[in-house]
């Protein structure tokens, strides 16, 4: 029996599995970076406007959902004067497919949270 080619094949399959498994580590990191960027942009707007209006909240939710986030919960300060704290907290689930066994893939769900605080710049006379 040709043992050597058989073992080579098995090892190659294993190496490919390992490489795919390792490369898929980057997916959640990349998604988290995207979500953070969207939320950061929203927080900068909040700083300027003194809060997050209902319309902006809907826009933010829609944008996050378009990136694959589900069950999005947004908690944000609606109105703050200059010098008061503004908080934006966004939570959501991100489900993606990844290698779970040698010949199998499965869905994995991650909880992504963004929570930052800044101060309002809007001067109210």
């Amino acid at each position: 029996m040709p043992v050597k080619p058989l073992m080579t094949g098995i090892m190659l399959v294993f190496v490919v599995f390992l490489l795919v498994y390792m490369v898929e580590f980057f997916i959640p990191l990349s998604v988290k970076a995207d979500i953070d960027m969207i939320c950061r942009s929203a927080l900068l707007n909040m700083e300027n406007d003194g809060g997050l209006s209902s319309e902006k909240r809907r826009e933010l939710k829609a944008e996050l959902e378009s990136r694959g986030l589900t069950g999005v919960v947004i908690t944000a300060t609606e109105n703050a004067k200059q010098g008061e704290r503004l908080t934006l907290r966004v939570e959501g689930n991100y489900t993606y497919s990844r290698v779970t066994s040698l010949f199998g893939r499965g869905d994995v769900t991650l909880r992504i949270v963004y929570d930052k605080t800044t101060m309002s710049r809007k001067v109210v006379n």
Binding site: M7, L29, A33, Q82, K116, T117, T118, M119
Partner: protein, 177 residues
């Protein structure tokens, strides 16, 4: 006449498996580990830089409206530093003494290396040597983070536990307050 050297065509399968396993353990996995470790550290640095950026602008916004309107800062440096520390604590999940809470990206005491508000005499240079042309809040902090995978083992062998991430952010202040 050349003597023909016998070539062994059918190498041992066991040797091949051992070789491939060795390549996997000593080449592929450490290289990948180093890459993902670097990526994770860069991500942590990005999260910290975002927090520092927000904190910079917050420290400035927390000052009085009159000072903001004139783009001139007369407040005590200690007051600004106190506001900065408070906001940094909130954004990086730290206690008041800048020790990390359990859910913080930092894994050791955070240190504020420098904090300056550059509001006049442009162009000026921040303590890190960056030329500043507009009103700016400069800050630099040191955040200890614990590496994972192979690097933590190497660090432990060197008698260290953390990698220090030094984040420097110069945040421009909007002039039209």
């Amino acid at each position: 006449m050349k003597k023909k050297i016998p070539v062994r065509e059918n190498g041992s399968a066991v040797t091949q498996i051992v070789l491939m396993a060795a390549i996997l353990v000593f080449v592929i996995m450490p290289v990948f580990s180093a890459v993902i470790e670097k990526y994770i550290l860069m991500e942590k640095a990005r999260i910290i830089r975002d927090s520092v950026d927000m904190t910079n602008i917050s420290a400035y916004n927390a000052l009085s409206g009159t000072e903001l309107g004139k783009v001139r800062v007369d407040a005590e440096r200690s007051d600004i530093l106190e506001i900065y520390r408070q906001m940094l604590s909130v954004n990086l999940r730290l206690n008041d003494d800048l020790e990390p809470k359990p859910d913080s990206v930092a894994e050791g005491r955070v240190e504020v290396l420098s904090l300056e508000i550059c509001s006049s005499g442009f162009p000026v240079q921040c303590p890190e040597g960056v030329t500043i042309m507009r009103p700016t809040v400069h800050s630099s902090i040191r955040v200890p983070v614990r590496p994972s995978l192979y690097r933590s083992i190497i660090l432990k062998m060197l008698g260290r536990e953390y990698v220090d991430i030094i984040v420097h952010a110069d945040t421009e202040i909007p002039v039209n307050n």
